[in-house]
């Protein structure tokens, strides 16, 4: 791909310079690009091709590739009830995390932008909850949810809502898994929205003020429309993150109780490494790739419109 570079290298500019430039430009970009191109081919393109390839087989990891089944794996999982349970759970968890988590950094940044005194301090403080690794957070909350000696249940007991097995009740477990996200949702997201709000030209606010638009109204009628696009972009990446969530679910419930928190990414891990059905797992994962690819294409399209 990069070998063609030299030909386009130099516009005719003048004798010596052109020759020197030609001889340089031919190799430097290739050298600069080569390591990255190689790792991208091996660890992305080959792998996604390979995922599709494996998904066509009843894959045998000891004697690859095993028996060819065509699209059989896809048909099997599309017909299985477990897959649809996982799909439904993934969608519910996604909607729950939008309701519980997604809006938090937007609201935080909106009010942060109104604060003049100690603003830098608050910005640093907003980063602190986000430094707790997901695994550590999941472990902490798993314990806080413990019906016998969890802090969360103790505090609920204080207001009369007795101990409750948050992670053991199929009706509550999805919400319980998503809830910690509310507490840890500061982080870089706040800085992002904050930067977007700060980049709104001041004249806009001034003219709105003259037109009799109060501070609360300005927040909703000037700031919100201006960061709408940032919100949209963030939403799409939030979506792929939420649809592929694995770590916290695996640590807190491993998909239980009774598959109430089984999501597609857990199903992928489970069918490969617990049921040794690599072909099925690859089929599921290729399916997820198609879903995410469609979402990301939409994201790029939106970005272009801007």
């Amino acid at each position: 791909m990069s070998t063609g570079t030299g030909r386009h290298g130099a516009a005719p500019r003048g004798g010596n310079l052109q020759i020197r430039k030609r001889s340089r430009i031919r190799w430097t970009p290739i050298l600069f690009l080569l390591p990255s191109v190689i790792v991208f081919i091996v660890f992305k393109y080959y792998l996604i091709y390979s995922a599709f390839h494996i998904s066509l087989f009843n894959y045998n990891i000891v004697h690859p590739p095993g028996r060819f089944v065509g699209l059989g794996n896809y048909l099997v999982f599309l017909k299985s009830s477990t897959f649809w349970v996982a799909m439904k759970n993934t969608m519910i968890m996604f909607l729950l995390s939008v309701a519980v988590t997604f809006w938090v950094p937007i609201v935080q940044a909106l009010f942060l932008s109104q604060i003049r005194r100690a603003n830098a301090f608050f910005r640093v403080m907003y980063q602190i909850p986000a430094v707790l690794p997901v695994v550590a957070g999941a472990l902490l909350w798993k314990w806080m949810y413990n019906p016998d000696r969890g802090l969360f249940n103790y505090l609920l007991g204080k207001v009369g809502l007795g101990p409750y097995g948050w992670l053991n009740d199929p009706a509550m477990t999805k919400f319980a898994i998503v809830l910690p996200g509310f507490f840890a949702s500061g982080g870089i997201g706040v800085l992002l929205y904050y930067a977007a709000i700060r980049s709104i030209p001041a004249e806009l606010f001034e003219s709105a003020k003259i037109d009799g638009c109060g501070p609360w109204k300005r927040l909703f009628f000037i700031v919100m429309p201006h960061i709408r696009f940032v919100i949209l972009i963030q939403f799409v990446s939030f979506m792929s993150g939420a649809l592929l969530a694995f770590d916290n679910i695996y640590i807190m419930t491993q998909g239980g109780p009774a598959d109430a928190s089984l999501v597609v990414s857990l199903l992928i891990q489970r069918s490969a490494f617990e049921q040794a059905n690599f072909g099925m797992s690859a089929a599921l994962s290729f399916f997820m790739f198609v879903v995410i690819a469609i979402l990301t294409t939409i994201q790029f399209k939106l970005e272009k419109e801007q």
């Binding site: 970009p29 790792v39 109104q114 550590a136 800085l191 640590i251 995410i292 690819a293």
Partner: protein
């Protein structure tokens, strides 16, 4: 100026609300972390109590003097066994009393013969291996002694029969009336169980605030056999090695590639094709290539190595996107000037581009650090032997109740959680300024 400023209607209300909302969010965000910090220094009994305790209690320290003047034995191993019996057996009985350390001073004819010490960091790690049940006899300890020594679960210093004479006579007469409860319980234990050959002459009970932090020290003793002398901290070291290697690759090779893409290739078509080549990979989620990645790593014979975790992180479209967004904004004239002066492309990159790119390099480092440091699924799948675990995998193992080799202790989990926060915390505080600067131009905001 200030005085003449007209306060708008509603401005004050919005101001007050803003502060309140912000403070509230920060309190919500930090509360779980405060709980993590508190429980990391809390004793096991308080942690397991059904009504949560919020104030950590300072552990007790027992200093015991045992006199061996009437014992003829000269073998070091014999006294070692005696010391361990004087520590481990009563401790197992006093397990609910928040013991922080037991120090044994062995005396003979007014001279110090040996000193032994076990902290709660060592005791709770070894508890299941050394004193799983309340069986108290000589033979049991003789069996356990090699384990204690090999895992470094107790400190033992031998002074020999010509040991230093002790200045203050700690051989004060034992008056059970004036003793604290715990010291009395210690004496009572040996009144019931006759395993010690020496005579207990003094038991002193104090409190040692240092022992509050024993859960952190425990991490060093935990996983000693599996991970080597660093114990649990080895996992953090693994994570650090992995994260730094990935960051180094991104800062060097992804930066070079993006720079070439942005400034060195002049054909627009080729530029577009290459850009798409890199960016299209953002669509490929990690889960989707989990299986082939596993097969590939297996075929490369890299399973169960740190490289298995590092290598896949080298291909990150997002980083190329960040870098290119920045390099695109470097004025071409600047680079042209350097070229005319005879600088090679590499030198131009080093001397002109690098110095002005500190914010973007910082933001890439931070954006790389977070996901690699937090990664759980892939290391969990690809590593089998504990010496190659990352801390996320090891933490998950700490809570694993299916392997019956240890008790799940929340203060260890909390302590490792606190330790796992430190690198990111330092990074965030040190780079916040650059990250904020960087966010404005990298185009993440769209």
């Amino acid at each position: 100026m200030k005085a003449s400023r007209i306060v708008e209607k509603g401005e004050k209300g919005l101001n007050v609300t803003s502060y309140m909302v912000t403070v509230l969010f920060i309190v919500f965000g930090t509360l779980p972390l405060v709980w993590l910090l508190l429980t990391s220094v809390m004793d096991n009994v308080s942690i397991d109590s059904p009504t949560p305790q919020f104030i950590p209690k300072v552990p007790h320290s027992l200093t015991v003097t045992i006199d061996y003047s009437d014992v003829g034995e000269t073998d070091v191993e014999y006294y070692k066994k005696e010391a361990m019996e004087a520590i481990w057996f009563p401790w197992a009985a006093l397990i609910n009393d928040n013991v922080g350390e037991i120090i044994i001073n062995g005396m003979k004819d007014g001279k110090r013969l040996f000193a032994a010490k076990t902290t709660s960091a060592q005791f709770y790690v070894g508890q299941l291996a050394i004193v799983p049940a309340r069986v108290v006899n000589d033979r049991l300890m003789a069996l356990k002694l090699p384990i204690i020594e090999s895992r470094n679960l107790s400190d033992f210093t031998w002074y020999g029969p010509d040991g230093e004479p002790i200045d203050e006579p700690i051989n004060e007469p034992a008056t059970s009336a004036g003793e604290h409860e715990l010291a009395k319980a210690y004496r009572d234990f040996f009144a019931e169980h006759d395993v010690l050959d020496g005579a207990i002459t003094a038991v002193k009970q104090t409190r040692n605030p240092l022992r509050l932090f024993d859960s952190y020290a425990s991490l060093q003793h935990l996983a000693f056999e599996q991970a080597g002398p660093l114990g649990f901290y080895r996992y953090f070291l693994n994570s650090v090695i992995i994260t730094l290697t990935v960051i180094a690759w991104q800062l060097v090779f992804a930066a070079l590639a993006s720079y070439a893409l942005s400034q060195l290739i002049e054909s627009r078509r080729l530029k577009f094709v290459l850009l798409m080549f890199f960016l299209a990979t953002i669509m490929i989620p990690g889960v989707s290539i989990l299986i082939p990645q596993y097969v590939l790593i297996k075929d490369l014979h890299l399973s169960d190595t740190l490289w298995a975790i590092i290598l896949p992180h080298f291909a990150w479209g997002f980083v190329i996107y960040l870098f290119k967004g920045f390099f695109d904004q470097i004025p071409g004239e600047l680079l042209q000037a350097a070229r005319i002066d005879g600088a090679s492309e590499f030198r131009t990159f080093l001397q002109i581009v690098l110095p002005m790119s500190v914010p973007v390099f910082t933001i890439v480092a931070v954006m790389t650090f977070i996901p690699v440091w937090n990664e759980f699924m892939w290391p969990y799948i690809v590593t089998n032997s504990p010496k190659n675990w990352t801390f996320t995998v090891a933490m998950n193992d700490l809570q694993d109740t299916t392997s019956r080799i240890r008790i799940v202790r929340q203060n260890w989990i909390s302590a490792s959680g606190v330790v796992s926060m430190i690198p990111l915390l330092v990074l965030f505080i040190a780079t916040q300024r650059y990250v904020e600067k960087g966010i404005n131009f990298t185009g993440i905001k769209g």
